[in-house]
């Protein structure tokens, strides 16, 4: 493994790849810091650019975007009390008061350093967990795979916000949208309604960009946009703003928050957006002086920022080892890999060792680039915050359209992009979660393929799907997750519908 990692580094440490990682991190930071733009959008508009690159280069860019996108959110969170991404919601709780107390520099110092360390720890966890997990998964047959995908889908539906019925409906809708086009195994064209362009099904890219970027922009367009009117206060930033003693005081808080981040990242359906809130709440509960939270204690910033960056490595574990994306960004990354003909999953580790370890190396380099950029380029990112969004968002729509078109050079895919954008917008308005749709879209075909393969092997007997040991374990956890969620929702309000 050490040798593989070394090889990964030697592949990534060439000027071209370093440049791409740097570009990715920079762009990711911009998208992360401007409220309303997300890491998912950044990856969406950059995916088509990776078509012409070799897989290693494409991954270098995408990993940079991922790390940058998650980290950028801390800037407006601290300065404006606006989380740039959902991953930085809890950073506003103490980061903004710190800035108001004239400690913006110190808040940035803590946020940046612990983002970096949280990220690094989670990458280490990824490198240690993913390969053995893939090794176990190698022995999985169709029954295990079917159970695992269904397990992931139920978990996503029950973990995403809102009612579990809506979550499951979203997942099923995603599965049905993926059924358009040729069926697995016999390639029978389903649900095309005579439209030839649908024979291959909907492409993943327009679906992803439409559901996550276009829908969001339509939602933002509901209100006319006013440029930011808040005044930005920044004191002199010198070094990292804290002493070595203060740094070590955070060790336990950092470790706990990072472990929370990694574990939540591994679970399908939730990532940094949940991790930072859970870590913040835990830090507050376990603190000797919880009354200081919310008034500008560094502990809150450290908890939030170590957890959200730690979720990155966690989310990549199921993606790389099992081919199951944990959140929206990793769903995008699957798109990036599939374009190059690489299917993430257990075979990924034996067939594409160079790319796997290239990704690990790219993540570590991107993490280092992130801390350098934020440390030396803070002024630039603060300036970016004042670019009016009514100018930025239309440009992003254009880039989305180009992305949808570029994959197959079809104008038809731009229509699909609009379809998914409007669908996503309507579902957001009806308070349906979006993430389960896209995961249903990606996992549905895998589940169907394995169900049919498995039934061929068992000659049409369903029982082994439930009773073999590994599937049985996954089904049990899935059922427990549903029961817990339903009970929690009933307890809360006696009403599953409107929460």
């Amino acid at each position: 493994m050490g040798a593989d990692l070394l090889q990964g580094f030697s592949a990534m440490l060439v000027p071209y790849h370093i440049l791409l990682i740097g570009l990715g991190v920079g762009l990711g930071l911009v998208f992360g810091s401007v409220p309303g733009l997300t890491a998912t959008m950044a990856i969406a508009i950059c995916l088509p650019i990776t078509f012409t690159m070799d897989p290693g280069a494409g991954m270098a860019l995408l990993m940079g975007l991922y790390i940058g996108g998650v980290s950028g959110g801390l800037i407006p969170a601290i300065l404006l009390k606006l989380p740039g991404t959902p991953s930085s919601i809890s950073t506003t709780f103490d980061g903004y008061p710190m800035a108001q107390n004239g400690e913006a520099g110190k808040a940035f110092g803590y946020a940046i350093v612990f983002s970096f360390l949280g990220g690094l720890l989670s990458i280490a966890a990824l490198i240690l967990i993913a390969p053995p997990l893939a090794n176990i998964a190698l022995r999985f047959g169709p029954m295990e795979y079917f159970a695992i995908t269904m397990f992931a889908l139920t978990l996503i539906s029950s973990l995403s916000e809102g009612s579990i019925i809506k979550g499951m409906l979203s997942a099923l809708l995603g599965m049905s949208l993926a059924m358009v086009g040729s069926a697995p195994i016999d390639a029978y064209a389903r649900f095309t309604f005579g439209v030839d362009q649908l024979n291959g099904g909907f492409n993943l890219l327009p679906a992803l960009i439409g559901l996550f970027a276009v829908s969001e922009i339509i939602r933002i367009a509901e209100n006319k946009i006013n440029p930011l009117s808040k005044k930005i206060v920044v004191d002199k930033i010198k070094g990292f703003g804290f002493t070595l003693k203060e740094f070590f005081k955070q060790s336990w808080n950092f470790l706990r928050s990072s472990i929370i981040g990694i574990s939540i990242g591994i679970l399908p359906g939730i990532g940094g957006g949940t991790a930072n809130i859970v870590a913040y709440a835990t830090a507050k509960n376990q603190s000797k002086n919880p009354e200081k939270f919310g008034k500008g204690t560094p502990d809150g910033v450290v908890a939030s920022e170590s957890a959200n960056n730690a979720a990155v490595g966690g989310a990549l574990v199921p993606l790389m080892a099992l081919g199951i994306p944990g959140d929206t960004v990793t769903a995008m990354l699957i798109g990036g890999l599939v374009i190059h003909g690489i299917q993430p999953g257990p075979l990924f580790f034996s067939q594409n060792v160079d790319i796997v370890y290239g990704i690990f190396a790219a993540l570590i380099i991107a993490n280092i680039a992130m801390i350098i950029f934020l440390f030396f380029g803070m002024r630039f990112f603060i300036k970016i915050l004042s670019i009016p969004r009514h100018v930025l968002l239309p440009i992003i729509i254009v880039l989305c359209a180009v992305g949808a078109f570029a994959e197959n050079n079809r104008v038809f895919d731009m229509g699909a992009l609009l379809f998914f954008g409007v669908l996503g917008y309507l579902l957001i308005k009806m308070k349906f979660p979006i993430t389960p749709i896209i995961l249903g879209f990606i996992l549905g075909p895998i589940a169907e393929l394995n169900l049919r393969r498995g039934l061929m092997a068992t000659q049409g007997d369903f029982l082994p799907f439930l009773t073999s040991p590994i599937p049985l374990a996954f089904w049990s956890i899935a059922v427990i997750a549903i029961v817990l969620k339903v009970r929690k929702n009933y307890k809360k309000k006696g009403d599953v519908l409107y929460d």
Partner: protein, 172 residues
């Protein structure tokens, strides 16, 4: 007001999913099995359609059950009434803006193969910037220059660097 609005939305979504599942199930009858092994290509779609049907039926029952639930509605007087009317007006305007944005994007995508990428992008960018920005922040020269620069740079970067030829339309 807000609560009723939410309930209507819940009802619409429940019925929409219900109809969708029926439509999907009926459509699966056109799928013919090509293999004798295991289950055919119509099996999974049927299963998913049934799943959506059951879940949306539960959803619908819940919505209907809660429909009559009394909403703690206060006597509306003077100021409250004004506030409510203002909100109503605001909601209308909100959806109008979202709808116009969808329309602008649809027109844009429709015009790309006809007018070509460059021209339609310039027009779309201008329109959308006007649509998103408050009137007092309209900076027409900046918008115009930006639209042209963005359209041209995207077109040529994709053509020269990424080897993607964007549609040129009838003027090409």
């Amino acid at each position: 007001m807000e609560v009723i609005d939410t309930k209507v939305r819940e009802l619409i979504s429940a019925i929409a999913f219900l109809l969708f599942s029926i439509f999907m199930y009926v459509s699966t009858n056109n799928i013919r099995s090509m293999t004798d092994m295991g289950v055919g290509p119509d099996f999974a779609p049927k299963l998913v359609a049934i799943g959506i049907f059951i879940l949306s039926a539960i959803h619908l029952i819940k919505v209907l059950k809660d429909w009559k639930k009394p909403i703690a509605e206060k006597e509306e007087v003077g100021e409250e009434q004004v506030k409510r009317d203002y909100k109503k007006f605001h909601i209308k305007k909100k959806y109008r803006n979202a709808f116009l944005t969808i329309l602008a994007i649809a027109l844009y995508f429709f015009s790309v193969p006809i007018l070509g990428f460059l021209l339609s992008t310039i027009i779309y960018l201008l329109l959308q910037m006007f649509l998103l920005g408050e009137r007092k922040y309209w900076n027409i020269p900046v918008f115009l220059i930006l639209s042209i620069v963005v359209a041209c740079s995207v077109y040529y970067i994709f053509r020269l660097v990424f080897e993607v030829r964007l549609p040129v339309g009838i003027f090409g």
